[in-house]
Amino acid sequence: MSVAIYIDDPKYLNAGESCVVAEFADEIDRGANDAVMNLKKHLLNQKNIPIVECLPTYRSLAIYFDSTAVSAQEVIAEARSAPKAAGEEAGAHMSISIPVCYGGEYGPDIANVARHAGISEEEVIKRHSARTCHCYMIGFLPGFAYLGGMDETIATPRLANPRTVIKGGSVGIAGKQTGIYPIDSPGGWQLIGRTPLRLFTPEAARPTLIEAGYEVRFLPVTEEEYKKIAAETAVGGYEALITEAK
């Protein structure tokens, strides 16, 4: 199958009377994702047309609008007027560090991952926390971040028998993907650790900790540190480290 990427001239797909989708690629592509974020930024800052909300995905932007006030054609015309993504500029994102206690009761599948990769558990931790991952999109569950860029030497297939309950905060691997379960949920990812941070806080002004476009680094912590951060998080006293990415 050929990969179609059309960053400079996205396809506009009909998605009902109140939504159009600007598609920048039909595969996962970092340049396309940057173009998605760029268009989102433009649309949320413009004042010509009423946009209800914009939903960025790996490779497309769903633009929801009030169809009693504006037509799909007008929305597409506004999107077309957005300045084209300059790779460098679109690359300015926020960076977040996620403390993770690896292994043990927090990451019961770390041995599976180590066995599959033919390395030690310590090496799994090292490789998982060495690379910066990019958050392409949030979906599936509130605050669930689709991360790309994990070290592929630790890629491991999903569990044959998915768990019925996975604790919120669990960090897992599924194939080449890595991610964090934001809330208690069933799932089949190989669990290698857990973060004490709350990824989804419905009552907060910013309900999700990670947002699309963020750079994510996993920071190994000891069980003692995990418990300390968990206690601070419980009373709202822990501030996640979020900085402007270089």
């Binding site: 009902g16 109140s18 039909d26 595969e27 989102k40 909300e53 769903a62 169809s67």
Partner: protein, 354 residues
Amino acid sequence: MMELVVKKPGMLTSVQDLGRWGYQSSGVPVAGAMDLPALRLGNAMLGNPQEAAALEVTLIGPELEVIGCGAAVFTGADLGFSVNERTVGSWRAVVLTKGDVVSFSGSKGEGCRGYLCLAGGVEAPVVMGSRSTYMRAKIGGIEGRALKAGDVINSGEPAPLWRRLDGFRLPEEAIPAYTAGEPLAIMTGLQEEAFTDKGKQVLFESEYIVTAQSDRMGCRLEGPKVEHTERGADIVSDAIPLGAVQIPGHGMPIIMLADRQTTGGYTKIGVLTPLSIASLVQKVPGTKVRFRAASVEEGALEQRRIAAAVNRAGELRLSYVSCGPGAARPLSGSFRLTLEGKTYDISCEEILKE
């Protein structure tokens, strides 16, 4: 302000409004009322703001005891809305007083969902801009769950003159047609190209059955298989709009509804028009449905028709309450009216027909 105590919760009764918009990019589903026109018309009939919440009632309604008085209306499917075991029915406002018992005698034909709207709206904490219950993440409504016995439901501040709403009925011609029995209209688009011509022909020429595996998240259909091209049924996860007709590898359409997840990885052939969504969510398992292709313009026209019907319901309410206490129904003619200390010269035309 109204206060109701839940005696029996019914099959599935939850607090819903227009939905939790603005947080899909955080992975938070929109949720909200399944039959949006019915909720909006109910709010208009009571003079509520459009964003007011109501109780969404599914098939078997709850039993509620009135503690504090107020006005209410049940809209949507006719589920046998009764007060003190006397049938009130749908689309008719009623004033409730202490000791009244609200109950539902059961479905009176087609349709399985309705909205018990209270003057002033149903109170619940606003979570991320909405009172909608999203049960999977336990947010909104009453502790993020369906009603249970013992819950207390309060209304907000009702619009003035609510006592005069008693008996106010929305005439049939003021309710948008629910196109029952007509094919559901799909605005084609999205991954339309992922289906063969034969596949599309099958979809638009066959009958499908609503299965029991349908809920607030989606409606699963069964029928002839819709064929994909060699490109297959999977895509890189993409946004899922309300009413999206998603068709996975098994070839059976799943129509994505209020509690749909924000993104998903199956091909979508298009999106149902707003009135087709309202029509579909009223269908019980076993009901047969057919499809036809529609344009985006047709969907936009339906949205405008719904908005016009909502405005019309608001106007009818005003003309009804303006007639003053004791008037059984609006009268024609001109007269002088004193309302809350101010005097108005009014000309009134009879529009409600019994």
